[in-house]
Symmetry: C2
Subunit: 387 residues, 2 copies
């Protein structure tokens, strides 16, 4: 199975660290480009490992595994950011191409640094402070007002690592419960009118493309639906685009950068960044001329980037999340395929409550039409069949 | 690598006999559907073998290889028709699901039977006759008029196995050169105004969908361009659709059936059939709501079929054929990606003159726009770079 990059200098081989659904969809996008793709998987039944021909087995935090992967690839990129930045720095020092770079991954891993660096550029972030202990929390809240939001600086996602704190008593109890081993920050609670996201893709040569601003509908911190374009004033969409371009330039990202935003009081506030293909961009597979996965590959190879325009007036994506009861998506798939225009994507993952098992995208003449088609197919997939 | 179907009864595993570009694009379409796909490849560097996780190595005419593949799959389907029908019949008799069936594959392999069976249904085929020897040829041509066309009954494709014969002397010389070991037919030469193709997809439960009629531009018998929709009168497009539905029903096809047509004197004549995804349908990957590859998979699994409507007023696909001088498509790819809206598909195949190495699709507001974008990108890929 193993073969050396030297055996044939064309086409290039892209190594993907991590074998989740993002790697799976990136693998799919690599096929028409004629690329070789090698996936680093912890286990052979992970989402991307089920479809990829060339696998390296190993943990994404094992330097030996990363080094082995890098030695067989022209460039390394990522399915997730649960990696060790010092290891990426060592790979870079050893001459391997890591895209996005160790520096960018480090920024994407650290919510405190994001706020510091973006704030220093004059970009809109909530008021924030690193948390040493309860005194910091109370001091910050007394100054900025209650409620406040406590966040894990590293590792939180899908609603984990975020706590809204309404009173001093709650705050002290929370910090007591979390203990001292977790790095935290506190920030002002922003009254959210709408959650938004915008993807920007940058290649080393400097070309940058921006996808349309989308609305992300979150339930309990997990993204349920993505609606493109976001139903906001054109001026706000333009501001989001400018903001995304500034963040991309400032972070020197290579590949996709997702900027999650809040709309509050008619203005935008940056929530957080991800330096990889992102759940808010799955709609682009059918919904845009070039998908986020294709453009991510083009970017990490420093190739010209593709157009990001929508292919229809409205596109909706509904995530398939494991509900309280187990479902067999494969068995329910035929029912969902009967919904006209529903594009179903299954990730090959076993059922677990709350787990992202797939998504459905539909295009429409307007938002309501796209949303109702995608929702109908999604319901047929995740709701137990009435027999 | 090998694993039994029994290990987990969901999702289904589709076996593909043959590992060319059709299998490669089918593999790509299987990923979002969450399917397992196993490819029978003669060599590990074939187009689909370069991307498929699960390979069975063996010849498509080796019964042991087919039997091994079938034993690991829920259904077998095909990348090409260079198989032995008696072996497929044996697989069916052993209880394996073969789709399309041995009977349909037998029909698709045999141009004489196609003409006989379609003619018997009253469908438009050229006047034809099986060729025993020179006397048959001269008798047919004297009755129907010169020129005539001699065709290999089996195995011809991409312009091979077709000879236009203008005079008795040419005819006698041709048959002399071909010898007696090749089954041949003779048919009337049809003055072709336009070559057309239409794809129909049928599932066992009976649902059938038809793709738009397309124009196929052939050079030296090889398809260079596919243009959707074909620029014909609506009445002719409607006739093509009815004809395709009748052929699908008559052949009991399961999966994609391609009907190649000639437009002559304002009417349609059937040229030949293929019972698999077809070069004339590659435009459907980006150009239609559901691609021919996705619908082929849905059909062989007896799942509901997807919509076949065009996503744009016009779609053009240009095939990338190896020219007289070797080119490295991978190296030239970045230049082509700079053409806005060009969707490049490389098959991972080594250069050979005349070989189909990939294709480019572009969508447009009209035929001219789509065609010029696709052509521009294709030229940048196959023409040597001027440095």
């Amino acid at each position: 199975m193993l073969r050396s990059v030297d055996q044939d200098d064309s086409p290039p081989t892209v190594g993907i660290v991590g074998a989740g659904q993002l790697a799976r969809m990136t693998y799919q996008a690599a096929i028409p480009l004629g690329l070789r793709t090698r996936v680093l998987a912890t286990a052979a039944d992970e989402s991307a490992a089920l479809v990829a021909r060339d696998l390296t087995l190993g943990a994404p935090t094992c330097y030996q595994a990363l080094e082995e992967l890098a030695s067989m690839c022209d460039v390394l990129t990522f399915d997730h950011e649960l990696v060790e930045v010092t290891q990426l720095e060592a790979l870079e020092a050893a001459g391997h191409r890591v895209r996005p770079s160790a520096a960018t991954v480090g920024l994407a891993q650290n919510k405190l640094r994001q706020r510091e660096e973006l704030g220093a550029l004059g970009l809109p972030v909530p008021a924030f402070q690193a948390l040493g202990g309860p005194a910091d929390l109370l001091g910050f809240a007394n100054q900025q007002g209650w409620p406040v939001v406590v966040k894990a600086i590293r590792g939180g996602y899908d609603g984990r690592g975020v706590w809204v704190v309404n009173t001093p008593t709650e705050g002290v109890a929370l910090l007591d419960r979390l203990g001292a081993h977790q790095e935290l920050l506190v920030e002002t609670w922003v009254p959210i009118e709408r959650e938004l996201a915008i993807l920007v893709v940058r290649r080393p040569a400097g070309q940058t493309v921006v996808y349309p601003l989308v609305e992300t509908v979150q339930v309990a911190g997990i993204c349920r639906e993505v609606l493109a374009p976001a139903p906001v004033a054109p001026k706000l969409a333009e501001q989001a685009k400018e903001l995304a371009l500034r963040v991309a330039a400032a972070s020197s990202v290579v590949g996709v950068l997702a900027v999650e935003l809040f709309e509050t009081g008619g203005r935008l506030v940056i929530n957080e960044l991800a330096a990889r293909p992102h759940n808010s961009g799955h709609y682009s597979i059918e919904g845009c001329i070039s998908s986020q996965f294709e453009n991510h590959l083009r970017a990490v190879l420093d190739w010209p980037l593709g157009e990001t325009d929508l292919r229809a007036p409205a596109v909706a994506t509904v995530n398939l999340l494991g509900g309280p009861n187990p479902v067999d998506l494969g068995r329910q798939l035929p029912r969902a395929l009967a919904v006209p225009g529903a594009h179903v994507h299954l990730y090959g993952k076993g059922y677990r409550p709350g787990r992202k098992l797939g998504h459905v995208t539909a295009l429409g003449a307007d938002r309501g039409q796209a949303q109702s088609l995608a929702r109908r197919a999604a319901e047929l997939l995740v709701e137990p069949a009435r027999s």
